[in-house]
């Protein structure tokens, strides 16, 4: 088959639908990281948290047969890793890069060890995934129904979180304190608030949202587990925060571009268009790097980003 098989109306509709379906793998983690970085703390361990969550969700989903239980346990992993990251970077004020990279290496190794030990001797284990919700009436609409209204619940929640996080950051008192802690922590302290407490809350939210992105791989997207299952999505979430200029709304544009290219190349691989798989595999990453000069112009990070507050 040639390239034209991917550019039929049906195939293009499918690509848009897949774009939305894979979006949560990056969306939750990016939104969480916006909150965390707005408070002044970078979490380079996102990838590690996501890997641990993906495995945890897979494991509990496998033994209980219920993907929601898996998701719930993954959220607990997010809480634990968030508390760990906050304790190390906010309370002990250790170097955020070192802590983040360490948590990544830890999650990378430990998730794989757990899989190999807990599933020793189990031939190709699989789990059930969250069902598609067919939204009544809307899902029957031509084209739009297929693209927008036939997804699992986490897709809808993810996109609803975009305005929710915006409202939280810009229209609530805690959101204001979080932004202030990332711009000028001294003022926050002078006003009688605890900067470490505010930053801990933000880091915790970031880690929990990252765990949803991780768990999405094994509760809604894939039925089996592989080593390094998140394949760099945690780092892509970090890139999205930067491209989106630390705004939960602006990051949607680069995020959808990335996921669109990714689903297009997945579609091309499935349709066997005559382009070798390795060229297609690298395409989304190259597009992302090429976007740097475009989206990277005029971005301005929070003033106190990565600066420990003692």
């Amino acid at each position: 088959m040639g390239l034209e098989s991917v550019f039929t109306p049906d195939a293009l509709i499918a690509v848009f639908a897949i774009t939305l379906r894979i979006a949560p793998t990056v969306l939750y983690a990016s939104l969480g990281e916006v909150i965390s970085e707005r408070a002044g703390v970078v979490n380079l361990g996102l990838e590690g948290i996501m890997l641990l969550s993906a495995f945890t969700a897979f494991y509990f989903s496998y033994i209980t047969g219920d993907p929601l239980t898996g998701l719930g346990m993954a959220l607990l992993v997010g809480v634990a890793m968030g508390l760990l990251h906050a304790m190390l970077t906010v309370v002990l004020t250790l170097n955020q890069v070192v802590v983040g990279l360490s948590i990544w290496l830890f999650g990378f190794g430990f998730s794989d060890v757990l899989y190999r030990v807990l599933f020793r001797g189990v031939p190709s284990p699989t789990v059930k995934t969250l069902p598609e919700l067919q939204i009544p009436v809307l899902s029957d609409l031509p084209v739009i129904g297929q693209v927008l209204f036939r997804h699992n619940v986490l897709v809808y929640i993810g996109f609803l979180l975009v305005p929710a996080v915006w409202l939280f950051l810009y229209r609530t008192r805690l959101g204001l304190l979080i932004r202030a802690a990332g711009e000028n922590p001294k003022v926050v302290k002078a006003a009688g608030h605890s900067v470490p407490l505010i930053r801990t809350i933000a880091v915790l939210m970031g880690a929990v949202l990252a765990s949803v992105s991780g768990a999405y791989f094994t509760t809604a997207f894939l039925r089996s587990y592989v080593t390094n299952i998140t394949f760099g999505r945690g780092f892509i979430a970090l890139a999205m925060v930067y491209f989106g200029n630390w705004s939960p709304v602006r990051l949607l544009v680069p995020l959808l571009i990335f996921n669109y290219v990714d689903s297009l190349q997945l579609m091309m691989q499935a349709a066997d268009v005559g382009i070798r798989y390795y060229f297609l595999n690298m395409l989304p990453f190259i597009v992302l790097i090429a976007m740097m000069p475009v989206f990277g112009r005029n971005v301005k990070p929070p003033s106190a980003l990565m600066k420990p507050f003692r």
Partner: protein, 332 residues
């Protein structure tokens, strides 16, 4: 002090090993005795030492400039590919010594080129080098698959993607017969010396430190920060590429798709951090890590402790290290 952290990390890491259900005495014995139990195993330790030392020195220089090159893995792969490609192009056309030099040079150039992109993006657009270098690692894996399917595909590879085997004339000489220990070790020691001189005894080394500690002050002091950033990345990439060239020419002689899983580039980040990003500290941490790696591989074979446990232990060790350093009021 770093030894304290290493000990804490190892202790915590070891409790992880026990979680997998391994016999603790066998595990300790395997981890600590196996790597020195015979010349072959000791040579394997030195092979890891060669690769880790060269790569980690480059990463350490970056850390001094507050540049985190997480992309050594990709730079290492591209360097190795370029070396094999050069071999395929030149072998039997030019005198062997000349080809060997060209192969090493190609490895260095490949690694440097792969590091140039994140260096320029960071210097010109302030784009985060951690994210860009990591993305380029993912791209490098695809490049490896492509190279094995085309540019460096071996004549005898049949259906399996495999490169040509480097002929004996073009390999690095073996130092100890019966082992894989080769002349790459001398390169590693030379690189360590060069890094020491570069980082501690030159104006460039001073500029790197200045950029790392306070870029604004560096600008005031007349240092061209962007140039230092790009050069530091280039040097780090060149080192990782050199390590790739040496590993192919001295140890493996041919590569397949599994070559993407050596993990040298990722572990070298930890080596650089544990070594305090200092040229001499990195020598010791490279030796320490090489020993642990060979011990861990043996543990996997002997008592089925999965090898990736190494990454988990390393993560714990690094956190212990920074925590210990904080209590002593020092920074990485």
């Amino acid at each position: 002090m770093n030894a304290t952290a290493a000990a804490i990390g190892l202790g915590l890491g070891f409790s992880l090993v026990l979680l997998t259900g391994a016999d603790p005495f066998v595990a300790i014995n395997t981890l600590l005795v196996y790597p020195v139990s015979d010349p072959y195993n000791a040579a394997e330790v030195l092979i890891w030492f060669t690769a880790l030392l060269i790569i980690a020195q480059g990463i350490a220089l970056g850390i001094r400039a507050n540049l985190w090159n997480v992309g050594a893995e990709g730079q290492f792969l591209i360097g190795s590919i370029m070396t094999l490609w050069t071999y395929k192009q030149l072998a039997n056309h030019l005198p062997a010594p000349l080809v060997v030099v060209a192969m090493i040079a190609a490895g260095i150039a490949g690694g440097a080129a792969w590091a140039l992109v994140p260096g320029v993006i960071r210097a010109r657009y302030g784009g985060n080098e951690i994210v860009v270098t990591l993305l380029l690692n993912l791209v490098a894996v695809s490049v490896l698959w492509w190279a094995l399917d085309g540019p460096i595909r071996g004549r005898l590879s049949a259906g399996y993607p495999l490169s040509d085997v480097i002929a004996p004339d073009y390999r690095l000489p073996i130092l100890l017969p019966g082992t894989r220990l080769n002349a790459g070790l001398f390169f590693a020691l030379a690189v360590a010396l060069i890094y020491y001189l570069l980082a501690e005894r030159t104006h460039f080394g001073y500029s790197v430190k200045a950029v790392g500690s306070n870029p604004y002050a560096a600008v005031v002091a007349g240092i061209r920060v962007q140039r230092v950033i790009v050069l530091t990345m280039l040097i780090a990439g060149a080192a990782a590429g050199l390590a790739g060239a040496l590993h192919v020419m001295g140890v493996l002689y041919r590569i397949d798709a599994g070559y993407a899983e050596t993990g040298f580039g990722y572990l070298a980040i930890a080596v650089a951090m544990l070594g305090g990003a200092h040229p001499i500290g990195v020598v010791f941490s490279s030796a320490f890590f090489s020993f642990i790696m060979i011990g861990s591989q043996a543990m996997q074979r002997a008592i089925q402790v999965p090898f990736p446990i190494v990454y988990a232990v390393v993560g714990i060790m690094l956190i212990s290290l920074t925590a210990v350093q904080r209590t002593y009021r020092r920074t990485v």
